[in-house]
């Protein structure tokens, strides 16, 4: 906004070019906004297509061509053999791996930011490598381990895999929240006689909670969405993405789009609630005087 006022206040050297410049500038502004609008539409159209086609009554096995409006699939979202079990597997794995990765990752992030110790730089690098490794390599490598160790792949190996790929994401997210954290608050708690555990539970954890929650949300979203790594380590267990992959070659019933729309609406609601709560927490924090910057 300030930049815009500065632009318009800029003196033009010649009066006659001024009008032309202003028109040109306005046209350019308009073009840029229109371009950004088109980019947003590009992002959202496929999502809208999914919601719209969840109401389709398709001809044939594939839900690609619009036929007629129908509530049939929404009335019976689990009406396709195996789709309900697949979704339940996905939700269970996502919930368990989120809890596991969030706890492990938060502790690791605390250790990394809080303490000076030898080998911190290589540890930081080591945590970064899984993020820079293509998923197909992560999945293949983990399967090599299970094959060599004679571990049968299934629910548990999927869970192990999901905690593994979520860990780095959680550590990075919580760590960014911990950097810039005001340590004098903890010192104050300890001066007032709190034990290290009490300090952590009553001071540190509530302050880093927004970071932990965003990390957990990210982990849940990544887990429930994962196909590539799961595909390598699933054995005969079917998750929702694996179900879709299997279906994509044979038949795509509208129920897949219905469940996708449901997950979409649920995630959107969760997201809005979190944003709203964080904003409320920030407002509360702003009321208190001398609150140190925690963001």
């Amino acid at each position: 906004m300030e930049a815009a006022t500065a632009t318009s206040a800029r003196p033009a050297s010649r009066n006659e070019t001024r009008g032309a410049l202003a028109v040109g500038r306005r046209a350019l502004n308009w073009l840029l906004n229109a371009y950004a609008g088109l980019a947003l539409i590009y992002l959202l159209v496929p999502i809208a297509v999914i919601v719209v086609f969840s109401f389709n009554n398709p001809v044939g096995r594939f839900n690609f061509i619009w036929n007629e409006f129908s509530f049939e699939a929404w009335g019976d979202p689990f009406g396709v053999q195996g789709i309900g079990d697949a979704l339940i597997n996905s939700i269970e794995i996502a919930a368990l791996s989120t809890v596991g990765a969030t706890i492990l990752g938060t502790i690791t992030a605390l250790a990394l930011v809080r303490y000076e110790f030898r080998g911190r730089a290589p540890v930081n690098f080591f945590i970064f490598i899984p993020l820079a490794t293509p998923e197909v390599v992560l999945g293949a490598a983990l399967l090599s381990l299970f094959l060599n160790a004679g571990v049968a792949t299934g629910f548990n190996t999927i869970l192990i895999a999901h905690i593994m790929f979520n860990l780095s994401f959680v550590i990075v997210t919580v760590r960014s929240r911990l950097i810039g954290f005001d340590r004098s608050l903890e010192e104050a708690a300890q001066d007032l006689g709190a034990t290290p555990w009490e300090t952590f539970r009553l001071v540190t954890l509530p302050l880093i909670m927004p970071g932990v929650i965003s990390a957990a949300l990210l982990a849940f979203a990544l887990s429930i969405d994962d196909f590539v790594i799961t595909n390598f380590n699933a054995g005969s267990t079917i998750t929702f993405p694996l179900f879709i992959w299997g279906a994509a070659r044979v038949a795509i019933p509208p129920q897949i789009y219905v469940l996708a729309s449901m997950i979409f609406l649920f995630t959107l609601a969760m997201m809005l609630i979190t944003v709203w709560q964080q904003r409320r927490a920030e407002k509360m924090a702003a009321i208190r005087p001398d609150e140190p910057e925690t963001a």
Binding site: P134, I163, L167, F232
Partner: protein
Amino acid sequence: MPAGLKKAGLPYLLLLPGLGWLLLFFAVPLVIMLIESLKTGSIDFGFTLTWEFSNYTDALDTYSEQFLRSFEYAGLATLFALVIGYPLAYVIAFRGGKWRNALLLAVIVPFFVTYLIRTLSWETILSDSGLVVDTLRTVGIVSEGGRVLDTTASVVAGITYNFLPFMILPLYASLERIDTRLLEAGYDLYGRRRDVFLRVTLPLSMPGVVAGTLLTFIPAAGDFINAELLGTPRQFMIGNVIQSRYLEVADYPTAAALSFLLMAFMLIIVIIWARIAGTEALLGTEGERR
């Protein structure tokens, strides 16, 4: 235990569970896969370690086409994502006003829908009797009876779409951090819009460009879902080969060698980028205690 010793050991103790998990299920598997990649044999007669380094050269020879295609498609998709994403991130950061958060939410909304279904949605959109193909046929860009699905264009479009938010978010983060007083200073010094953008805004947003291109390129180069659903074997990338060698043919040595080659290429690219951008920005460890 003396307090000093206890304190020195504490960070390692806290690191143990998380790092242990990563060691056991990320590092150890890589070592096992390395050994796997040097074996010979078959699934029926078993694999034996023969230090077969030619697995690597053979794999590279046989699948150089898919390797090159992966980098070509990923490069194109990264470029398109940058061209599409930068102006959008710019508008949200500088003109979003009170709509900023809502607009950002719109950017990540695609992530709320399963990756595979997003890709299926593109299959729906680009399908032969769909609206897009009909329009393109009417305009004459696509010939009568021509297709969009199962072409290079559809695969690259799918990859671009699926990883676009990974480009936009870091771009937005770096643009949003720019102190607008710097831009004002540029205008006060009679800088034209273009000059202020090229000499102030763009250089300051470079960390976002570097992070965004990496976050887009790495998953894109290893992707096989878009090629599988939106393409044909003629569009198959190295990810398709690794997945079928591993899961369908059970040719573990070749699949392992290909995985390592892919990872090696990625690390080279990351290191080059890190040189350009600085490791701290890349690892996100700026501002740590030291």
